[in-house]
Amino acid sequence: MGDEEKAEDMCADLLPFQRRIIQDMIEEDGLCIMAAGLGWQRILAVMLQLQIERRRNPKERGVVLLLGCTDWQRTMIKRELHRLDPALHRARKVAVAPDALPLPADANTPADGVLTASATYLDPGAGGLEPEMPVDVTNEIPAAGRIELYRGRACLFVTTRILVVDMLNSRVLPNQIAGMVIMNAHRVTETSGEGFAARLYRSSNRKGYLRAFSDQPTSFSHGFAKVEKVMRALYIKSVYLWPRFEAHVKDCLKASEEGLQLEVIELALQMTPAMTAIYDAIADIMDSCIKELRRSNKIDTTELSLDHGLFKSFDEHVRRQLEAVWHTVSPRTKQVVADLKTLRELAEYLLHFDAVTFLTYLETLRAGEGISSFWLFHDAAHLILDEAKRRVYEVMNSKKASEAAGSKRKAQEATSGFAIEPVLEELPKWRMVCKIVQELQSEGMLTEPNNGHVKDEPVDLTHGDLNAIDLPGLPPPSGATPSSKPPSAPVLIVAQEARTITQLRDCLAKGGPEGLLRRLYEEYVLRRAAGKGKGKGDLPRWGSSGRAGGRGRAARGSGSRSKASDAHGTGRPSAQEDEAMLQEAKQLLQPNGSDQHQMAAKAAKKGSQGGPSSRGRGRGRKASASRAESPERVQAATGPADREASEEEALTHFVRFYNLESKEEGVLWDVKPSYIIMYDPDMAFIRQIEVFKAEQPLRPLRVYHLHYEDSQESDKFTAAVSREVTIFQDLIRQKEFMVLPDPIQALDQAKKAGASLMHPDALAALPGVGQNAITRRAGGRLSNKPQPTCIVIDVREFMGSLPAVLHQQGLQVVPVTLEVGDYILSPDVCVERKSLSDLRQSFISGRLYNQAEAMSKYYKVPTLLIEFDGDKEFVLHGPSDITEDIKADSLISKLVLLTLHFPRLRVIWSRSLHSTADIFRSLKTNQEDPDALVAATTGIPVGPDGMPDTGAEAVVNQSAVDVLRRLPGVSDANYRGLMHAAPSLAQLAALSLTQLEAAMEGRQAAKKLHDWLHAPVPHLAA
């Protein structure tokens, strides 16, 4: 009874449909698939809050575990929990210090993570639980601490891998778990970590609950009967679908009678002519890429058209089609597929990056792409480069330049006859954002209402309604603030990338867009000049072949467009241009304020005159007359007031920024904006705004939705919405015909099947093998022994699926941290598992060599398992990969070299996970079980006390070790010493030469490393 009341209490904050979701889930375990942006975080937070309340009663036991959350999702849930019950926060603050704070993901560096984690588990929390914020259980908390946490806490976030390992090691027993909540359910498969955990849990706990969430319905469209597979993997019987068009959701998000409508003003901007030209050129190249693909005959190109070409799914679609035959695909086709991705990204960056950054990126890209690149040698690629350059600067005859610049000095100094003229094209959206903010400000929307500034202009609805929130007696959650205080940040600017946000802030600040571009431009010029000054002649080696090829092709390219007789017609900077660039850099370095000022003024003039023209189009939901004209007003209002520095300074005052990348979706509730500028369209965030609005119906809220006309941006947005709708409709249809076995029954059946699979006679039936086994058994020595069934597995392997499959097949899996090998089948047999991509990578990094060496040293039968993907063709490479000559970098050559150098190394070629399990079992017949303790200490250097220096579970930053071992001067002999001397790569980079000498025990090597680390990177681009 009390519980229910409390539940009611906590749900009060939720929208009715959100409450429904919780009720459904509590009534019967299920998989909940909801549309993006409908507020999963609030639902989860309330569910956790209910559990925390339950555990306040000392009689209640059991922990609730949250699996499959990403970092930002965890942070978000914690924020929500804190919002629901600030007391939680306080309790945590007493118990532990900083980790309790719902930190943004990036502040939560692992370094302090460990401190807080160890502090956390020490508090016993026995008996009636104090409400506490859930902690993260990761590999950074020692085993003893984890046991404590499972026992004492109400809710925990757990890394799936750690949970599986802990369940197998009985650090947490299934009946200690009151429930499991699985986030990102679309990632679950039978053999994924979550599936494994669910199986371990359900095999002996049938009472606790298991609930799964996903807010990515589109992920359920991949593959056949995905929803059913997920449900089966989690032993769940029901699925709940919550699309945006669901009646409850619709009703909730529709404005109530007395409430205010959400105003949406769509602003369609036009790209600048240069942007359009680049955009068209990219489309051109993509078109030829598609034609090229069509020629390969490997792919069904009917669905591939340019309209789809700029969507993210396009290159994934192509890849998926080719995946099954990937090995037979010619290198050229592979390159085209890679190019499609590059081009799609480029089209995105064109809209996201400013002109200077875009050019920089383009130049880096050109330096990085090798000769194999298809698109770089397309005629239109030069067009892209030229246009990108023209957005930043132009090379002019110095006479012309001096006229244009009105600067005599320049003409005098230019020796080469050419000079660089900055153009500095602004992004149209920048100007628009400034205009909107300025307009709001001039309307008096952003100033304090009580400082006598009454608006005499009859602006629009919003004004009148602003008073509505001043009505007394409104409930606090509506976010109403007393009229005496201004809303703290009424404008929220939302963009995709952090970079965009930083730049927008600069745009609104003092210098405005011109100042920002000017700064970027100066950096660019100096960088180019620095590269040219030093690196003349000794161009970097890599890509030089590509460069030569490029030049050849470029010449051809420019031949065909002979009208472009400009020096920079080829897209590659000419000598004159380089000279002029140096000149420009010199001028920049001279402390000459007047020149700079002039430039800025000029750029500003350009910006306001010939610059981006923006055409507004009002399309408010209500489409009232005032709304429709509002963009025009935007434009009109910005004319003269535009350049008043004092006003621009104030522009950022009532503005808050949010980048979608940071994923702090609670921002709406924190900032409580009245105006939102959507710089980049985003479906999920728009939904968030709807939810936010629905919660506070009386609060006025206006959304400016910015997008470029005729770009992929707006298409993408509408496509995303309609795709979600279609997929939900499919899912609803699927749900009708879904046939699922009773999950518990399925579980029992699987158990039986596993038992029969284990039977050793099944193996004896194999010809050849069987006979051998029978002969041996005839000796009678082994017949009485129980069949060995245990495999020791490195804990890191639990990120993959093989341990789950082995367990499913009835083998006992023992997770241990291993120094040598991944799977220990017997005291003699040690297996290193490599998927095909791992295999390639670890040949390149040399890791496999080291691993083979270690395995050969400690085990009689060192084994390399090459694991093929069961869904793909079973081949190492395609016919085209077998060249005329023996090539040193082919996989064949490397395998040969490896087996020649380690003649004892055995190789297992496995078709799929299941065949690996079969092979493992067959190898284990007549072999003794491995000893977990021995396996764990194998290969670990003996410590000073004569005991192996195990130090419990060591957390290893593998990629850092890989990077370290590939640095010059670092060898097998000295890398351990380096790891002692400097805890991390960042700290290694800070060591002095003397310190390095001490750590590496070698002067030469230390000097080599030190010199390399601090050597300046040669200039690459152009």
Partner: protein, 208 residues
């Protein structure tokens, strides 16, 4: 003993049993000649190979067992070159794998006669080759090294390395870059930024 005399140290020696095997016509990069040897192929003094077609194995499952047994321990590297020429590989391959492991033979799978031949050629050609190529030893020039090191971080590509190089000026600069600095690099998304930063700043190993 008779076998040893007929072995040409500069060629792959092929047993007469292999006559008619389509693999032979694809051995082009090294010389080969028939010789009286116990294994099917001998690639130099220390390496030999038995050839097995999986299709044949399905017909005569006992065959390979006998061949492996008679090979004894005369060679340092003993290869079982398996031509995967059946559709349903799982069972036969599992059997062959087991035989190879229990009898100290290294199993190499190839999917075409060309590929089989390439293995034989390479074993011969690489007879005395040092392992540098698989020990992560890269070219000495600066950019190759920088690229080799940085691309150890998953998802990082050449363009990213160039971008970081241009932004942070030196390898040490890249390693010491802050999250914000990394995020400011065009083309490097939040996931990669996070991975890079973790690689550089999370300790190599930590004992609990």
């Amino acid at each position: 003993e008779t076998g040893q005399h007929q072995v040409d140290p500069y060629a792959v020696t092929v047993s007469r049993r292999q006559e008619g095997n389509p693999v032979l016509k694809h051995i082009r990069n090294v010389r080969w000649r028939y010789g009286d040897i116990v294994p099917d192929y001998q690639m130099g003094l220390n390496a030999c190979a038995l050839f097995l077609s999986l299709r044949f194995h399905l017909l005569k499952p006992e065959y390979i067992h006998g061949r492996v047994k008679e090979l004894q321990k005369a060679f340092r590297s003993r290869i079982l070159l398996c031509h995967v020429d059946v559709e349903d590989v799982v069972n036969p391959l599992a059997q062959v794998t087991r035989i190879a492991i229990l009898n100290d033979v290294t199993l190499i799978c190839a999917w075409s006669p060309q590929e089989c031949a390439r293995y034989l050629e390479t074993y011969k050609a690489y007879e005395n080759k040092p392992a540098d190529n698989i020990r992560g030893r890269t070219d000495e020039d600066y950019l190759s090294r920088l690229q080799a090191a940085m691309t150890c971080v998953r998802g990082v590509n050449r363009t990213d390395v160039l971008t970081m190089g241009a932004t942070f000026k030196s390898a040490a600069g890249i390693m010491q870059a802050s999250l914000d600095d990394l995020a400011a690099c065009p083309g490097i998304g939040p996931t990669k930024v996070r991975r890079l930063h973790d690689t550089f700043h999370v300790p190599f190993r930590r004992t609990l």
